[in-house]
Amino acid sequence: MAVLAYCITETQPEIAVPHAGVRGTTIETVRIDDLQCLTSQFDPQDVVGNASIQEAALDFNRVLQDLLRQTAIIPFRFPTILTDETALSQFLTEHQAEYREALLRLHNCVQMEIQLKMQTSTQPQATSPKSGAEYLRGRQAQHQYIESIVARFREAAQHLAKGWRHHETVAGIRCFALVDRSDVQAFLRQMKGVSVPTESEPRVTGPWPASEFLKEQ
């Protein structure tokens, strides 16, 4: 039967495997040396329709959060479905070196995220450009404006963030900070103190698995 892959963790320290996975299935482990992948049997026919899919995604997240509270994890994107455990073992064997390195590096760390919306009203030179050059100048000003806001968060986080990444999206900008588990509360307090335009609707979420930091820059 097909298997749904949740995440990869180290086998030590031992973790308490969640009682149930997506749709109440039993969670099992596939081990390769000192790494393990948590899986459950998965019948895609059981997850048909938007409500079921959403429910399955929430179940999936519950498992990840449960494990994240205990140890560092490398999550799979939902839904990652493989033909069987042999296929998963093969994948783990091929990639074990990079995942072992990532888990060692990210040990005891979680990812916090800051989302900033960049609506037209918050951006300089919001009027329609009259020429290509004016458009480019507007884009440059907009970019600098966004960077200045990001810099405020980054500065506030600098003593707590072991890593920092950010990128622009269609909706605004997303910043990711790699934070020690014990510093999550302090990080949230620091973010509260940052002055930003209210229109940017700043939003901090986390802790999440450190997906943005799986590869070193």
Binding site: V47, P75, T80, L82, L88, L188, P207, S211
Partner: protein, 84 residues
């Protein structure tokens, strides 16, 4: 003018403040290791469901990324085992 971020929304499990459905879906669907290619299940009938999951659940941002790569096959667009 910038204001102190009293309106900052914090959604953190550590503060017993629940994350929104959108936050959760965005993360489980867009973050993490991706396996594409021959390892992904390709049994008759299952492909359709898998495709359905992708289409229904993918975010607008991800969809737009894929739309920018119209001539790239799935195995090329997303290398085996690459993270987000």
């Amino acid at each position: 003018m910038p204001q102190p971020s009293e309106d900052l929304v914090i959604a953190s499990a550590d503060l017993d403040q629940e994350m929104t459905l959108l936050d959760i879906l965005d993360h489980v669907l867009n973050a993490g290791v991706v396996i594409r290619g021959s390892l992904v299940i390709s049994l008759a009938g299952v492909d359709l469901v898998f495709l359905g999951l992708d289409v229904v659940l993918t975010s607008v941002e991800t969809a737009m990324r894929h739309m920018r790569l119209p001539n790239v096959s799935p195995s090329e667009a997303s290398s085996k085992g690459s993270p987000r």
